[in-house]
Symmetry: C2
Subunit: 203 residues, 2 copies
């Protein structure tokens, strides 16, 4: 079976990356979201191994020490991370795995797995991003300003990715990310020489 | 305007690469075949600059000496080659340029232009290739055997390409080559940092 590929998708909040990834998961067989590990309590209806792998702080910190996480971060005092073993299993089973991560997380993954493919989703323009962030009625002006400045910081890192997709048209952006996934699977790798030998022997 | 990309498509005879490329040229705006230069006489109805650029042997050899060809080859005593200036002009005008070349030509292009994207089209299997070659009624058994052995030699070089597409279903192969072309244009390059700066300034 052909090994799957790991795709990391980043983009500032308001860029529509969640919608793009959701559409790809609906359309593409063999493509799944990674399941994160967290130290936060499960909410009602959440199942271990489905929404998250639930664990405690001690075990989580041990996993960090043992190098068993592709990336990890702390949010509101709780730990979140991506277990290497889960991703490796899925890839081995021929699944393409999507990780939605911020720039820091994406760079960790690149370091741990140089074969990961990094895609940055840009909003149509910074002005449009500003409009989208301003449109969120419940936030304070300070919070909106901070969010915009964070977004611009993230965008500055887009050239560290493998691909940049501009989400000015959702259908087009979805097609472009799909094209990247298709092309990446057709790429010649170190294992291609073996595939070609096998192909020739079948004559 | 965004610079176009140069795509080199190879594959043994009987692999259907001409059909695949033809479909892509029909479907994709902004994608064109390169026009070759040749020393052979124009046939009736052929126009200079359309089917070929026609020239004489002396001028052709001078172009080789001056490094003005991306690749060149001799067939039945006549010279054929790809003028660098023509391809560079098209790319500058945002056109994607397709070159159909054998392995030797493809490797010349890679040397001259490391940004060129090399795609190898494989037939579904060597057995199927054998059937396709045998199906050509007019050839002698020796000529068919030679053609098959050349095909297998070419296939051995497939891992020197950037991408391998297996043409077991024409529609699928066309979609795959299109996906490669789309993905290649979304790739982050050295010039992406400038694009991102400009993008941010427009806020």
């Amino acid at each position: 079976m052909k090994q799957g590929k790991l795709f990391v998708v980043s983009g500032p909040s308001g860029t529509g990356k969640g919608t793009v990834c959701g559409r790809i998961l609906d359309d593409r067989e063999n493509t799944i979201y990674s399941v994160s590990m967290t130290t936060r309590e499960p909410r009602e209806g959440e199942e271990d191994g489905k929404e998250y792998f639930f664990t405690d702080k001690e075990k989580f910190l041990k996993m960090i020490d043992d190098g068993e996480l592709l990336e990890h971060a702390q949010v509101y005092g709780q730990h979140y991370g991506t277990p290497k073993a889960f991703v490796a299993d899925m890839l081995k089973n021929g699944k393409n795995v999507i990780l939605e991560l911020d720039v820091q997380g994406a760079m960790s993954v690149r370091k741990e797995d140089p074969d990961a493919v990094l895609i940055f989703i840009l909003p149509p323009s910074v002005a449009e991003l500003e409009r989208r962030i301003s449109g969120r009625g419940t936030e304070s002006p300070e919070s909106k300003a901070r969010r915009l400045s964070e977004a611009i910081n993230e965008i500055s890192c887009a050239d560290k990715y493998d691909y940049i997709v501009i989400n000015d048209d959702l259908d087009k952006a979805v097609e472009e990310v799909k094209a990247i996934m298709t092309a990446e699977q057709l790429k010649v790798t170190e294992s291609s020489a073996g595939v070609i030998e096998k192909y020739k022997e079948e004559s």
